[in-house]
Symmetry: C2
Subunit: 253 residues, 2 copies
Amino acid sequence: MLSFVLIGTGNVATHLFNAFLNVDEVAIKQVFGRNRETLKYFSEHCSITTNIDAIVNADIYLIAVTDDEIASVSEIVSRKPGIVAHTSGSISMASIRSKRKGVFYPLQSFTKNKEIDFTKIPICIEASDEKGLSTLNTFANFLTESVNEISSEKRKKLHLAAVFANNFSNHLFQIAQELCETESLPFELIQPLILETVDKLSVLNPKKAQTGPARRNDVLTMQQHLDELNNPIHKKIYQLLSQSIKETYEKKL
Amino acid sequence: MLSFVLIGTGNVATHLFNAFLNVDEVAIKQVFGRNRETLKYFSEHCSITTNIDAIVNADIYLIAVTDDEIASVSEIVSRKPGIVAHTSGSISMASIRSKRKGVFYPLQSFTKNKEIDFTKIPICIEASDEKGLSTLNTFANFLTESVNEISSEKRKKLHLAAVFANNFSNHLFQIAQELCETESLPFELIQPLILETVDKLSVLNPKKAQTGPARRNDVLTMQQHLDELNNPIHKKIYQLLSQSIKETYEKKL
């Protein structure tokens, strides 16, 4: 049986909490937060506290707060016996101010009120000592088939890759939606294409899957597209991404 | 019973051909192509020809060739009785050189040897006369639940939106893969995130779903990410898309 205290009550904290609620081998001892309102949900299932001095002992202290609060929050539990692990993609393990440090980073984008199946989500772990690594490994294995020991340096690169794959691609979907709306076309028309773009990755890597005017160097279509774009920043994005696609394949030749 | 002649033997032609093979109410009368080698596959199922003069009569002539060949290829069947429709997203209907013109544009990205379920794919139709529109409507309805009458002008905008949603987002996935590979990290680590990015669109529109350092205006993380990027064009893409995300939400305030 592994026990943990959850520190934080936001989106990632809530998703991890809900996932561990279903794991019999893990005891959620307590949730610590500063906001009584957001703590309410957790209080239905376990002990909660807003008092630093009332934090109980546990095997793991899981810090799920915003990046810039991790260091200061880790201070709160620095004298506790368990390993103190944060859940961030971009903060190095060294930022944790306790002797036994760790990272427990689920590589996923969590949406409020949208349930997530953790079994396929990669969890990236790291620890300052072997025992801590073993504890986090066991802990992560209760949730997912994909537990990966990844250093802070590599995790940062992974997080950067995730920004391109998730944040930036979502922004392109948003531009596509905007373009549809200017013509009173429903965004739903584009959704099967988006689904297929991603489904394709299961049989082809993105480098081989690339299609479109830039890939074909279809100058005429690209010029027409640029003429149709009214928003100057959309024009710039079109030009830059087209140029980047062209360069990717020119390099290959 | 509707009959059609398929003109072209490429990727889109093959996918449409395979889809209509399963439709009892549609007779594929013939496939016309210039390349005997690529015609072979079709010859197993129907009549084929490389001879313009041998093209038979049909209700519909479906032109699935590259954009810049559509006009000249349409000439071949300009005196035939049926409606001549191309399958392109970006070419206007007026480019077709026949009296009865039409468009039959399946809004999807087709991959060689990857089967596609047409039932959810939007097909955008347009025709120069009411009878032609009715014919194409019936024809499209045999394949999909989503038949949409869309003008050439609107279709062009839709195609442009598709470039952002499909071609450009795929390129971002490719950059993410490259970033993973420079650290010997498997791209598979990112794939559940990509799946979720798209799955999220079923409950939230992309404008509301946006997350990440640019959305939060997390200047420190963005600077760290820029420092980590070695490829100058990746840096530019990071900067431009971050700026565009920021501007999108500033406008809203």
